[in-house]
């Protein structure tokens, strides 16, 4: 176990250090969510005037919940890019040779993704508060939102880690991010689920990201909904994608 933590800590430190030392890596993960927040909360705020749109904290808070979870998911995706880059540069192969406990590599990348995302989460929260976001949830409910973000970040990081380790090339970038992007945008991003109609309503109803999004919005508004379901789905997702990432690692080990 000591060797596992030793590897995980080393990989996580490197991942965070690389991101902080290289603006080209850090800035997109910070700037993208900010632009989404500006574009959605600013440009679409009139959507909050649509009849039956009854989210009390307002449209900025409504969109903040989405951007918060989206940034968490993309924090994981960006880590997938870093893993793919490590394989392209040959670093990951040397890491596989030297790590005394290889499963620690996955944990290290996931931990690095979490630390990097927490920085992004702080920035977008400050930006949303400056933009006048109204927060009705209490302290425990806000901790719940952070928990949802951590879960989302972990699931996405494990997914991205698996893909990157299976394909071992930066060209896997589109495959890493597209499914995450699509799943997130097939949730009720712009209006509550009840205001969606047609095929998007049917898809959003069964989309696991919808539960996390509705739970986050409910916690932010101080009236929790679907919290247990959301955490349950995130735990299940973590379990499934842990296996996926472990198999990706095994594939990379076999490839040598």
């Amino acid at each position: 176990m000591r060797r596992f933590f030793f590897v995980a800590r080393g990989v996580a430190w490197r991942s965070v250090h690389n991101a902080l030392a290289n603006p080209a890596i850090l800035l997109p993960s910070l700037i993208f969510p900010l632009f989404f927040l500006a574009a959605f909360a600013g440009g679409l705020s009139r959507i909050g005037d649509v009849p039956n749109f009854d989210y009390k904290p307002g449209y900025t808070a409504f969109q903040y919940a989405f951007v918060f979870l989206q940034s968490a998911a993309f924090g994981g995706v960006f880590t997938g890019f870093a893993i793919a880059r490590d394989f392209d540069s040959g670093f990951a192969r040397r890491l596989l040779l030297t790590a005394p406990r290889r499963s620690g590599i996955i944990a290290g990348y996931a931990l690095g993704a979490l630390v990097r995302w927490l920085l992004t989460a702080i920035v977008i929260t400050i930006a949303a508060l400056i933009a006048g976001m109204d927060v009705a949830g209490n302290g425990i409910e806000l901790v719940g939102i952070v928990g949802l973000g951590i879960g989302m970040n972990l699931v996405a990081a494990l997914w991205a880690c698996g893909v990157a380790m299976f394909l071992r090339t930066e060209q896997a970038g589109a495959l890493i991010q597209m499914p995450v992007f699509i799943v997130l945008f097939l949730a009720p991003v712009y209006v509550p689920l009840k205001l969606l109609s047609g095929w998007i309503h049917s898809v959003a109803r069964f989309n696991p990201a919808t539960a996390a999004l509705e739970a986050a919005r409910g916690l932010l508004a101080g009236s929790p909904v679907k919290v247990l379901l959301a955490f349950g789905l995130l735990v299940a997702g973590t379990a499934v994608f842990s296996v996926w990432a472990r198999r990706g690692l095994a594939s990379a080990e076999r490839a040598g």
Binding site: A24, F35, A39, G43, L44, S45, R46, I47, I200
Partner: protein, 295 residues
């Protein structure tokens, strides 16, 4: 690797013409001296354009992603934002009709990145340096390099239009309007491709070109892409959207779909698209000269 391979048939063609000219001159008599028949500007552009088009079609991933991604966003946003129709003052059309203009612009941004990345790859691989040793003119090189981008723009504009019509979008300006829409979207893509080429020529690396993509993408978000400008509630956003030329490019295309023939929107759309093309190509031409001098 692929760039060099892709170059061979095209350059062989160009070289063939030059070689024929050379042979012709040679048969005239050794005493009269050798005169190398330089291919015309058109032949030079055609040779480089052919290579650019071939290379684009050989990299299917470069075709599929730019084509599919805007369509996915169109499908999602066209349905997810349909509640926007209930906003007082929203045009009396479905949100899908309203949103169809956006994929054309997003597609143009992808064209910019792929055109710039291709050119940067040629610079990085040294292919550009080798071309610079030939009598090829800089303007022909630039125009030819953008040939692939224009072909992609034609294909994707046609696909977006057909997908829109297939999903029930009506073109208010009719068949003639659809043709004008295609012309405008190709001109916009050409302008953005010029921007991609300019970035590549100035910075010389594919990473730098791709690093500009988020910035370009943001210009679409900070425009009237999701709502008409008069319905944007947040003042600073409305201000930014008003000063953002992308708003007028979108509104030019959108007018043909939802309004019919709107002279002002079309004049602004074509005006900004033309200005973008002229500006980016002028600066790219100057950057090309600098790069050829350095070579």
């Amino acid at each position: 690797m692929s760039s060099s391979a892709g170059a061979q048939p095209a350059l062989a063609g160009a070289g063939g013409s030059a070689g024929a000219g050379f042979a012709g001159a040679g048969s005239g008599g050794a005493g009269s001296g050798l005169r190398l028949a330089e291919p015309s500007l058109f032949q030079q552009v055609a040779a480089i354009a052919r290579r650019s088009v071939m290379r684009t079609f050989r990299q299917r991933a470069l075709l599929v992603f730019p084509l599919v991604f805007p369509l996915i966003l169109f499908a999602i946003n066209g349905s997810a934002l349909s509640a926007a129709r209930k906003i007082h003052g929203f045009p009396d059309v479905s949100y899908r009709d309203f949103a169809l203009a956006v994929p054309f612009i997003q597609g143009a941004l992808f064209v910019a990145v792929s055109a710039g990345t291709d050119l940067a790859r040629d610079i990085q691989s040294g292919f550009f340096d080798r071309l610079a040793l030939t009598p090829l003119r800089g303007s022909a090189l630039l125009a030819g390099q953008l040939g692939g981008a224009v072909v992609v723009a034609c294909v994707q504009s046609l696909v977006y239009l057909l997908v829109g019509i297939a999903t029930g979008v009506g073109i208010a300006s009719g068949f003639g309007g659809a043709l004008v829409l295609l012309a405008l979207s190709i001109l916009i893509a050409f302008g953005f491709a010029g921007l991609g080429a300019l970035i590549a020529l100035r910075l010389g690396t594919g990473e730098a070109v791709q690093g500009f993509f988020p910035l370009l993408f943001v210009t679409v978000f900070l425009s009237s892409s999701s709502l008409p400008r008069n319905l944007i509630k947040t003042d600073w956003f409305k201000e930014v959207a008003t000063y953002n030329p992308v708003s007028y490019l979108i509104e030019g295309i959108r007018s043909l779909i939802i309004t019919g023939w709107d002279g002002q929107a079309l004049a602004l759309g074509f005006g900004f698209a033309l200005a973008l093309s002229v500006l980016t190509l002028s600066f790219a031409g100057a950057a090309m000269k600098n790069r050829l001098v350095r070579t």
